[in-house]
Structure formats: C-alpha cells, structure tokens
C-alpha cells in the first residue's frame, strides 16, 4: 500500500474559493454569483479582487440559475455558489431548461454536500444531488476529494465549455493530493495499485478508502484504490482495466446508494464485465443532526465500513471462483 500522509487539513470549499480566485485571474470573463452564502462558499477573495464581476443575488436560487444562464449569452463564465441542496433539488427545473437543455456554460458550485454538513440536519444534507445532476444530458459532474483537488477542479471547469456541477463540502479533511496538480475532467486518479479488489471512491470517501487500504494491507489484502472525481463523464476505461485484474468492486460515496457513483459503476459492469460489487453509501435514507464523524460512522461511510464491504465482496468473488 502506497503511503499517504498529510500535514494539514482544510475544507474542500476553501479549495473552491482558491480555485475561483485563480480562474478569475486567468479569465476576465469569469464571474461569480451567490445566494447570500458568500462566507460559507469562501468567495470573499474573488469578490475583493473583482467586485464588479460578482453578483449578490439574495436568497433566490431560481433567479440565480436564470441570471447565470443569461450571463453566458454575453460571453461570461458564471460560477454560482450556494449549498448543494439549494444548488440542485431546489432549482432542478431551472437547471434543466435554462442551463442543461440550453447548453449554457454555467458552473454550478455546491458546498455543504452530504452528511458532513453535520449539525444542521437532513433539511440541508442532500444525498441525492449526484443522481439528479448526472441524469441531465450534457452535464459534467465532479466531486473532488480534498482542498488541492477541489482547487484544481475549479480552475479546470472554468476552461471547459459546457454546464458543470462541482460538489464539495464543509468540514476540514486531510490534504493528500499534490499541490498545483493538473486536473483532467473525466480521468480517474490511481491512488494505489492492487490486485485483490477495486475500490472506486469519490469526495470525502477517498481518504477513508486510503485508511481502509492500510487496514486491508495488514490483513493481507491488496486493494486497488481509484479516485473517481468525475462522476460524469465516467472513466469507463479505468474502471474496466482495474476490474479485469481484481474481479470485484467496492464503491464508496457520500450519497444515497440510489443514483450515485455506485450505480454508474454498476451500469458499466453489467454491460461489460459483470463482477460482484458492494456499495458503501447511504442506504436510501435521510440524514440527521450530529457531528460529521458521528454521522459518517452511523450511516456506514467510514474506513471500517469500506473494510467490511471489501471482505464481503471478496467472499462473493471467491464463491464465484469456487463454483467454476
């Protein structure tokens, strides 16, 4: 198991803030919109440097999505900022008609996604957003895993033409990917090469997968860990290449098991190379109040649950092999 260490923890939303500032410096057409959550979205630095390129919309997310779509017509590259819940479910039809169907170059940037929003509870903890957004034709869906990757992803989506959903979170988490990395949309990142099981992880679950990989190594299990930061378009080649070697899969995401990364991987497997798969995901329920760590444990989204899922899927794989 390749060794990953970290010296610092930061929130992925701060990676977004840093990336937005950099994207704004590189391209004068980059503009930002926010629905009364500037501090939460870490947009202050951009606003300070480019006040005339920032639009405070107020608590009116539907209007924000429409204005963003309109701004693209004049050649702007708008980044909308609010919580993931209000970036998706609240404004799904606006995104569908005015952005996705109209093929507008809007970057929908969504913070406080998933259970790790914590104490605010289920009203704000959206666990369905990846599914909603990946179902929209033409939408690119990205869920980076740490500060550095989120910053790089933010810069990359500014240079990509087309609608993007960029999802990140609230809590501080280890920084373990390289500073100033190149982010290639749709290209999976090999975290650790292994032979026994493929763990495909996204967002905050990537670090948990690394912790799980270390525990599995002590148990003599050689896990391949791949970071799927781009849910759509999915890196099908990377998935199939890994599975050809390992013959079993665990997917890990901070999302409902319905409609998320796991289902995207399952579709690839069932059409190309059916092998056993286990899901580490929220089991079709809403969240609740609690600390992020408490919630991730209670809802089965931590390293321990990944280890269990690996053990189960390897038993299934071995049963298949024994039956041959």
């Amino acid at each position: 198991m390749k060794k990953y260490t970290f010296t610092e923890k930061k929130d992925t939303r701060s990676g977004f803030g840093a990336g937005l500032l950099e994207a704004g410096r590189r391209n004068p057409n980059v503009v930002a919109l926010c629905a009364d959550l500037v501090g939460s979205l870490k947009m202050d630095a951009f606003i300070k440097e480019f006040p005339e390129r920032f639009f405070q919309i107020g608590i009116a997310e539907a209007n924000m999505m429409g204005i963003a779509a309109g701004l693209t017509i004049g050649g702007k590259v708008p980044f909308t900022g609010t919580f993931a819940n209000f970036s998706t479910g609240r404004v799904y039809d606006q995104i569908r008609q005015s952005i996705a169907y109209s093929d507008k170059n809007v970057k929908i940037c969504a913070s406080h996604a998933g259970l790790t929003l914590g104490e605010d509870g289920a009203t704000h903890q959206i666990l369905e957003d990846l599914g909603m957004m990946k179902m929209l034709p033409g939408m690119t869906v990205i869920n980076p895993c740490d500060f550095n990757q989120t910053k790089a992803a933010t810069i990359a989506v500014a240079e990509h033409h087309g609608p993007v959903y960029l999802r990140f979170g609230r809590p501080v988490v280890p920084i373990f990917t390289p500073d100033n990395q190149e982010f290639v949309i749709g290209k999976a990142w090999m975290v650790n090469e292994g032979a026994d099981v493929s763990i495909f992880a996204t967002g905050h679950l990537v670090w948990e997968a690394i912790l799980a990989g270390e525990q599995l190594a002590e148990m003599g299990i050689d896990a391949e860990i791949i970071n799927i930061h781009t849910i759509k378009p999915l890196d099908v080649e990377a998935v199939l290449k890994s599975v050809a070697k390992t013959r079993c899969v665990v997917t890990a995401e901070e999302h409902n098991r319905l409609g998320g990364l796991g289902d995207s991987i399952a579709q690839v497997l069932v059409q190309n190379d059916p092998v056993p798969q286990e899901y580490v995901a929220v089991n079709d329920s809403f969240g609740e109040s609690g600390t992020p760590a408490q919630l991730m444990t209670k809802y089965g989204l931590d390293a321990a649950h990944i280890v269990k899922a690996v053990q189960k899927v390897m038993q299934r794989k071995n049963a298949v092999v024994a039956a041959l």
């Binding site: 503009v31 005339e52 390129r53 639009f55 919309i57 107020g58 009116a60 539907a62 209007n63 924000m64 999505m65 429409g66 204005i67 963003a68 779509a69 309109g70 701004l71 693209t72 017509i73 004049g74 050649g75 702007k76 708008p78 039809d93 606006q94 569908r96 008609q97 005015s98 169907y101 109209s102 093929d103 507008k104």
Partner: protein, 290 residues
C-alpha cells in the same frame, strides 16, 4: 436607429403572421394559437421596427437589442416573426412541431434554430435570463437593450417575483419586461385561477417604471416601446403592462381561454383565414390546406 417601416407596413406583416400562426397550429393539430395571436403586434413591432438586431444570428448578440420569450408556448408567433424577419426560411414554418424539426413545440437552442437564445416553456424563467443577458451587456460596455415577454398567468410563478425584486434592486436599467395581460390562463380567467390584484401597483412597488399599452393597436405598441427604450438608463428597469385579447384577429378565438392550447379544425381554419387578408405570401405546406 429604428427600422424604416411604416405603421401600415407593420400592420400588413401582422396579418400575415396571424395567418402563419393558425396554419402552423392547424397543420400539426397542436400548439397555442390564443396567446400567439394576442402578442402578434408586439413581436412584429419589436422585430420590424423597434429592435436593432441582426438576422445573421450570433448567440452573443453583441451590439444588438435582444428579445427573450419567457412564455414559450406562444412559439408560433415567435417562429413566424423570426422567419419573416430573415432568421431562417419561411418555408421552414411548415415543420412546426414535427419530427426532426428545428421548430420544437416550445423554443429551444438545442436544434440550433437561429434567433433563439434560451429554451423556454417551463414558465417563470425568462426574466431571470434576460437580467443575466442585460448585466452581461453592462459588463461588456454594450449599450443595447434587452426585452422579455411573459404571460400574466405566468406571474403565478414565484421566480417571477424573485426577478422582479432583483432587477430594480440592482438597477438593471437596460431591461424592458412586457407582460401579456390578456386576463386568461388555461383553467379560466386570471381572476378565477389566481387573482393578480392591482398589478401596476405591485410592479411599481417592486421598483419598476411602469407603462401601459393596448397591445393590439400598432401605433400605440410602437410608440410605447420607443418610449420604454428612451426611459432606459435612468436607474430603473421598465415594465409594460400590455392589454391584449387572447386570440386577437380571429373573432371566434378572441377573449376566451378555450383557445389557449387548442388547434382549429379544417372548417375553423378556413373561417380564420377568411378574416385575415394578407398582401404577403403564405408559406408552402406539403399537406393540402382546404
């Protein structure tokens, strides 16, 4: 600099556009004639007189006045006016709502139809889009104007009022919002379905400069639109409450919500065309029109 058409010219075009509308809706036996007929004079005035625009379509519309149709179900009038002002061949009107057509049931950019800059149909979204386009013009130093049309039943949508609060609050003063105030929506009159109350007072309270006009009087439409343009740049957006008759121009369709989304049969088409005498030419249909 307005286009050099006389009011009589515009009236002539409007008659032809109304012929196009009823023929298009009849040919595919679906679509929305009522609101299309009511808004015909407005769209003709905008595209043939008031707006500075280029039928050699460019999505960014730099240096042009822009128009957004928020109530996308009145696509027949939009398509007819776009075709007749040169955005695409008039003959293409015969493909309205048919398979593999660029003239989808509701307007969309998806099939690349020149003149359309946003999809609309799901109501309430157009003012927001127009605001964005208007603010982009300001950032780009482009002094041209943005027009957006909504229905009045559409004002039931909450997003309308988000946008209505934003535009004056943020001084989007290169924006003209026109309300097709025909008093009708699908299930009945606006009073029956969702009373609008004192609409002028509501919009004024939000901070708009409000004008009113009879949307089926071409002289008044042109004069009011020119006035709206001249009022731009004063720190406030402009709203025109436009009284129209749903179905205007075809007597048996007028003033009733029943013709919101119903196509005429052969006999009704014949009756309608008898009331619309145009000196221009109809577009050709493959199907026989009796």
């Amino acid at each position: 600099m307005s286009q050099q058409h006389t009011i009589d010219d515009l009236k002539g075009v409007a008659v032809q556009v109304r012929r196009d509308i009823v023929r298009m809706v009849h040919a595919c036996q679906s679509g929305h004639p009522g609101g299309s007929l009511g808004c015909t004079d407005l769209l003709v005035a905008l595209y043939f007189k008031v707006m500075e625009h280029n039928p050699q379509f460019k999505m960014d519309g730099t240096g042009e006045d822009l128009f957004f149709l928020s109530n996308g179900h009145i696509s027949p009038v939009f398509y007819s006016v776009l075709a007749r002002s040169g955005y695409f061949p008039v003959s293409e009107l015969g493909s309205f709502r048919k398979l593999n057509s660029r003239l989808q049931g509701h307007p969309t950019t998806h099939e690349g139809l020149p003149g359309v800059r946003i999809a609309s149909g799901s109501l309430g979204q157009g003012i927001s889009v127009a605001i964005g386009a208007a603010q982009a013009k300001k950032l780009n130093g482009d002094d041209k104007k943005v027009f957006v049309l909504t229905g009045d039943g559409e004002l039931d949508e909450g997003q309308i009022w988000e946008a209505a609060m934003y535009a004056p609050g943020k001084k989007v003063d290169n924006l003209v919002w026109i309300v097709d105030h025909n008093g009708q929506q699908i299930d009945g009159s606006t009073d029956q379905v969702m009373p609008l109350g004192n609409l002028r007072a509501k919009v004024e309270a939000f901070g708009w400069q409000v004008l009113e006009m009879n949307g089926n009087n071409m002289d008044e439409v042109v004069a009011t639109l020119e006035q709206a343009k001249s009022l731009c740049g004063n720190g406030q957006p402009i709203c025109i409450l436009m009284k129209t008759g749903m179905g205007y121009g075809v007597d048996f369709m007028m003033g009733s919500h029943k013709w919101h989304g119903v196509a005429p049969n052969d006999e009704q088409l014949h009756q309608a065309l008898e009331q619309l005498h145009s000196k221009l030419e109809d577009y050709q249909l493959n199907e026989l029109i009796s």
